[in-house]
Amino acid sequence: MERIVFGTLPYDLAHLLGGVTLLLSFALLSQRRIAATINTYACQAAVLALAACWQGYVQNAPHLYVTGIITFAAKGMIIPVALHRLVRRLKLAGGVDAALGIFPGMALGVAMVALSIMVVLPTTVQSQALTREDLALALSVVMLGLLMMITRKSALTQVIGFMSLENGLILAAVSVDGMPLVVELSVAVLVLVAFVVFGAFFLRLRAQFDSLDVTHLDRVGSAHR
């Protein structure tokens, strides 16, 4: 494989797609409406699918196309449609209950990205330029997903945060040169994601909670015993 350097198409496009994935993570963090959050997630999955396919082309690794197609079909289409139906059927309110305001959330997000870059770039000085920057972008997406899970109170938006975190993992896996088992791992991740969506459905349909507000979860830990 030829060495990929700055200014060539393989590098620029891969970088662009990774950057857009990260940008959509910020969009997720700032979204206030559930429907828009789901749509943003679908966009992120679609961009990720493109990134996987592009890496498949650049690395000449056909199995990455499979990862891309699976990602697009499941995370870009099926899961968002299912989530939209869930929202409509359960008549969830349009707003998202964030524990943090937009500005503090974004500021923390920027800090997370800075942290990821400061951690990844010095540790990967000898690696290929593309790999190290993609790894920094992927770690940023992971951190922003975590941040979203922490700053949202509703289980549904936490689930979307979790799924966006998983997008970061797939981005990392496809960007690393010749990583084996990527398809298998991405399917396993998908099972995890599907399970988390199923869990949110199940929790809600049980109608055992007044809302999807997970602050209830402290009940088992503290008050009872």
């Binding site: 979790f162 010749g178 990583m179 084996p180 995890l192 055992q208 015993r225």
Partner: protein
């Protein structure tokens, strides 16, 4: 590269998994429990042959370490399957579980067991990760089976915490691959434990550091080291008790074995940080935190879950100490704790069914009301508290002497943690087993029902009083597998 999944070594994991597939089609819970016993028994039989099948393939690794922990896991799975037969029957009679859920219980339990053994026997970080993920999902479903509000909350919490943890572990896996890429080149080798260990000196130390952080957080959550233990007490308190017996030993062991392999990987690289201190810090924190958390617990299962966190912390501490003696002590402690703790949970499950609730207020004076059950529980708690003549005492002394040799000033906090925990366990032993019996309306348990627990306790006793030389040699070989 098609692996031969049906070789005898892999069958130790696949026998329970095949059992799970068969169980998903069986209609009655009674037959289901027999199939579960058969499948886990077969798995145990295959696991017992592992010591004669040492090899390192692309996907399957049979070395003394993986063989030892697999046999242990398969054994506990087998005895717990035997124990589950009566336990689930009583649950159905009392109406807490219906026939459908009892069937689901057996199927999920077998898949949980199979994936855990697969994670232990896997030579590939990716396969380990997938197996741990699948085992987690099975365990989450089992914990939620009673379908009470609390059980569902506990399983959701379990799932979210462990889901995030294994997501971080996957990132760590990608970074390990990247670290080994220059030494091993693209392909399966850079994800294989044995090849990674061989090429560790030439791998990128800085990247290994980064991977270490993510893998330690990810698999440390599975090992339920403080402060990553949040899922553990709830999952124990709310799930079916036989699952606690397996959760307490085996899931933690899977996490600890990965941490052990990671330590030897890090230690072989000159540029990487010394993995010992961070692992020891997490371990010591778990010991102290869990020991003091034992105070004020009113739920019996939650109480023993905190005791498991303490013991897991102690194993992690010994792993962090490293060296042949430290690793030997860690493996011995892992073994005796797993056996003794599952015996405790076997008794706690019966006691809960007899008295109606897993609360210290409700369960008291067991020896007076149920002689066999009370005595077995008393002996199990003596074993778990680290009192002689049981094996836990021996392994704790080994860990303490090794600490004394390497870090004398750490002996004080460690002994404090062990004493605080031991004191509270002894106090609870008195309240649970001695004194005035409370009224019970569930079925009583005779000595025969206690046989699985006594099998465990017998092994723990022998390991404490007169460890066979062959077993000691076997553990030394296991410790040498991860220098």
């Amino acid at each position: 590269m098609i692996p031969n999944w049906f070789e005898p070594a892999a069958m130790a994991a696949f026998a329970p998994l095949l059992g799970a597939v068969v169980l998903s089609t069986v209609r009655t819970a009674r037959i289901g429990s027999l199939i579960a016993i058969l499948a886990s028994g077969l798995g145990f039989a295959f696991a017992c042959q592992l010591p004669w099948q040492m090899r390192a393939g692309v996907f399957i690794l049979v070395d003394p370490l993986s063989a030892h922990v697999s046999i242990l896991t398969a054994f506990v799975g087998f005895t717990t399957a035997i124990y589950s037969r009566r336990y689930i029957a009583v649950e159905i009679e009392s109406g807490r579980l219906d026939e459908t859920r009892a069937r689901q219980y057996h199927a999920l339990f077998m898949s949980f067991l199979g994936f855990m053994v697969l994670a232990l026997l896997s030579n590939n970080l990716g396969v380990t990760w997938v197996a741990v993920e699948a085992a987690t999902i099975s365990a989450v479903l089992v914990v939620g089976l009673p379908r009470t509000e609390n059980a569902i909350e506990a399983s959701w919490k379990f799932f979210l915490l462990c889901g995030v943890a294994i997501a971080l572990a996957l990132f760590g896996t990608v970074v390990v691959y990247l670290a080994a890429l220059p030494a091993l080149g693209a392909g399966y080798a850079a994800m294989t434990w044995t090849e990674l260990a061989r090429a560790a000196p030439q791998s990128r130390g800085t990247l290994l550091n980064l991977a270490f952080v993510f893998l330690l957080i990810g698999y440390g959550t599975k090992a339920s080291l403080a402060p990553l233990h949040g899922w553990m007490p709830d999952a124990h308190a709310e799930g079916p008790t036989p699952v606690s017996a397996v959760l307490s030993g085996s899931v933690m062991n899977v996490g600890l074995v990965v941490i052990l392999r990671l330590r030897s990987l890090m230690a072989a690289n000159a540029d990487a940080i010394d993995p010992g201190p961070p692992i020891m810090a997490l371990g010591l924190l778990s010991v102290l935190f869990a020991a003091f958390s034992l105070w004020g617990r009113r739920d019996v299962k939650r109480f023993f879950a905190f005791s498991s966190i303490e013991q897991s912390g102690l194993v992690a501490f010994a792993i962090g100490l490293g060296g042949p003696a430290g690793t030997f002590a860690a493996l011995l402690h892992m073994t005796v704790h797993t056996l003794a703790k599952s015996a405790v949970f076997h008794c706690v499950g019966r006691a809960t069914q007899r008295k109606g609730a897993p609360s210290f207020q409700v369960i008291a004076g067991l020896i007076a009301s149920d002689r066999a059950l009370g005595l077995t529980l008393a002996v199990s708690i003596v074993a778990i508290a680290g009192l002689p003549p049981f094996g836990v005492f021996a392994s704790e002394i080994l860990i303490l002497t090794e600490t004394m040799r390497q870090y004398p000033w750490l002996v004080a906090p460690l002994v404090l943690g062990l004493l605080v925990a031991g004191w509270k366990l002894a106090a609870r032993l008195i309240s649970l087993c001695l004194g005035e019996p409370t009224s019970g309306y569930g079925p009583t348990s005779g000595w025969v029902a206690m046989l699985p627990a006594w099998a465990h306790l017998g092994i723990v006793l022998v390991l404490g009083v007169a460890m066979p030389t062959a077993f000691a040699g076997w553990l030394v070989a296991a410790a040498q597998a991860v220098p």
